[in-house]
Structure formats: structure tokens, C-alpha cells
Amino acid sequence: MSKEEQVIQQIVAKFPFLEGKLTNPYDRRIHAEPLYKEDFEKVLDWLATEGGFDTFHLVIGFDSGENLEFVYVLSNADKIILNVKQYAPKSNPVINSVVKYYKNCIWHERELIDLFGATVEGLPEGPHYPLPDGWPEGQYPMRKDWKVEYFDKNTMTYNPPAPEAKEETPEAPAEN
């Protein structure tokens, strides 16, 4: 049995609800299907403390419509890379910081705050990152419904068109 399968079996033995949700697409790589907050925190707590996944690489965020998904990329001493995903509902994206397990997650989670509008609880106070100074409040450029065309870079304001006011462009008068 390969090392990857051993790790998958270990995790599934501890968390039966992950049965069939862990895949091993190629060497030294394990993908997990997205989990909601409570399950995710249980799994991550075990992975970080007993599971041997002591290295944190990065968080990837993406917008999948109703939910935001955050992918935590971890690895262990056997160089197996594990992607665990967390769902956060877009209407109220509150997640808990993983800083108590991995000290280097701070800048990555600050990016989630700025770019996706996530609320990360338990993160130490600090500057915003990485958007420029003077960026308008409540604008999250990595969300799918945020359009760069409506953003005025000179005044740093976001001006979406009003939903009803769809102006029809007047047709040019016919030339005779």
C-alpha cells in the first residue's frame, strides 16, 4: 500500500464522514472535498496536532457562486501535499483563523479578508493587505460579481450601473 493510501485510511478511520471524499489524483497529492466549518475545524485540528501535517503552504480562495471556498494546502514529513477545503457562505463568510496551528498563515488570511471579504476570527491585529491605501470599504475584487469595468482607478470608487437604468444606446442617424 502506498504512503498516500495509508494517510487516507488513517484520516478516514478517524473521521468516517470523509469516506470516499479523499482522492489521490497523482503521486504525493491528496485532495479532499469541501467541508463546512464545524467538520473542517475538527479535521484540521486533528491533522495539525496528531495527523503529522505540520507544514502550511498557502490558502487559495475562490468564489463558487453561493459559497466561498478556501483551500488550505498542507504537507507532512513524507512530502505528501494535502488540500483541505472549507466552505463559507457568501452572505456571512466567517471562518476561524488557523494561526494557532500554523504561524505563517497570517498574511494569507489577510489576503482572504481584503480580496474575498471573509471575516477571519482569531487573527492578530495588523495592517490590511494587499490592496492599495484608500481602497473603498466593502469592495472585494476577487468575487465573481465584482467587475473591474465599474471601478474608477483615479477616484477609487466602485460605480455599478443601477439595475433598472439600462440605457439603450441611441442609434446613429442614418446617413443619406
Partner: protein, 151 residues
């Protein structure tokens, strides 16, 4: 009216030894490495008297790399305004010339010329040291011609 001897001497000195200030406005570091390559012994533009300075107050030429991000926009303007007249700006690399692939990004205002006037554009990703040297030589040739015309 012909210029006096002192003015001519200053112009000669400026043409002979332009001092360079390097500003990274949001580059990936590719072009910055090429600038360092052009300055260091392999290409060695220091033999022409071109020295990199750490402060814009000593500089004649501002060598800018990268697309201008909204965060560096005001800083770039500030650095440019601190340089003594006459001053020249080199836009090094495709991103500095036009914004490159980042031009329409939400945090990028465009090429260097979206903020400050540019004297010479050096395309390339990354711009080769030969291209940078060529641009410097063309800038100095232009300067010499302009000074000759003024005399």
C-alpha cells in the same frame, strides 16, 4: 544666444556620466535583474560613467520597471518630483511601456506613462541588457544632438 562655458561644461558632464535611479513600480523582478546585469561586469555600463544611485536627488535618469500599481502611483510621482531638472525616464520592459498583461487589472493604473512622462520605451519581457544599453546610448545621442542644436 550662445551658452556660456560653464553651461557647456555641465552639459558635457551630464552627457558623459548620467546617474541612474532605479524604481520598481510593481515589476516581477525580471527587468530589475536585467538592469543589475547591465550594470555589473558582464555588460558593464558603469564603464560609460553610468552609476546607480540610491537617492532620486542625485539622479539624472529614472529607470522604471513594471506596471504602475495603485499603491506605487503616488510614490512614483513623489520620486520623480524629487529629481533635479533636467530629468529623463526610461520605461524598461513591456509592463512599464504599456502595462503589459496587467494593464486592465483592478489594482494597476497602466504603464509608467500613465503617471509621469517617459523619454524612452524599452520593450521586452524581460528587456535584455543589450536593449537597455541601446536605449541609454540613444538617449545620450539625442541629448548630444539637442545640445549641439542649442549652441
Amino acid at each position: 544666444m550662445a551658452r556660456n562655458v560653464l553651461q557647456k561644461a555641465i552639459d558635457w558632464g551630464r552627457r558623459k556620466s548620467p546617474w541612474l535611479v532605479h524604481f520598481n513600480a510593481g515589476a516581477c523582478n525580471g527587468c530589475d535583474i536585467e538592469i543589475v546585469d547591465a550594470l555589473t561586469p558582464r555588460y558593464d555600463i558603469e564603464r560609460f560613467g553610468i552609476i546607480q544611485r540610491g537617492t532620486p536627488r542625485h539622479g539624472d535618469v529614472l529607470a522604471c520597471t513594471g506596471a504602475v500599481t495603485l499603491q506605487t502611483r503616488d510614490r512614483l510621482k513623489m520620486v520623480y518630483e524629487q529629481m533635479p531638472e533636467p530629468k529623463f525616464v526610461l520605461a524598461i520592459g513591456t509592463c512599464a511601456c504599456s502595462g503589459g498583461i496587467f494593464a486592465d487589472c483592478y489594482c494597476v493604473s497602466g504603464g509608467i506613462d500613465s503617471v509621469i512622462p517617459v523619454s524612452a520605451y524599452i520593450p521586452g519581457c524581460a528587456a535584455r541588457p543589450e536593449a537597455i544599453i541601446d536605449a541609454v546610448v540613444k538617449l545620450l545621442t539625442y541629448l548630444a544632438q539637442a545640445q549641439k542644436a542649442a549652441d
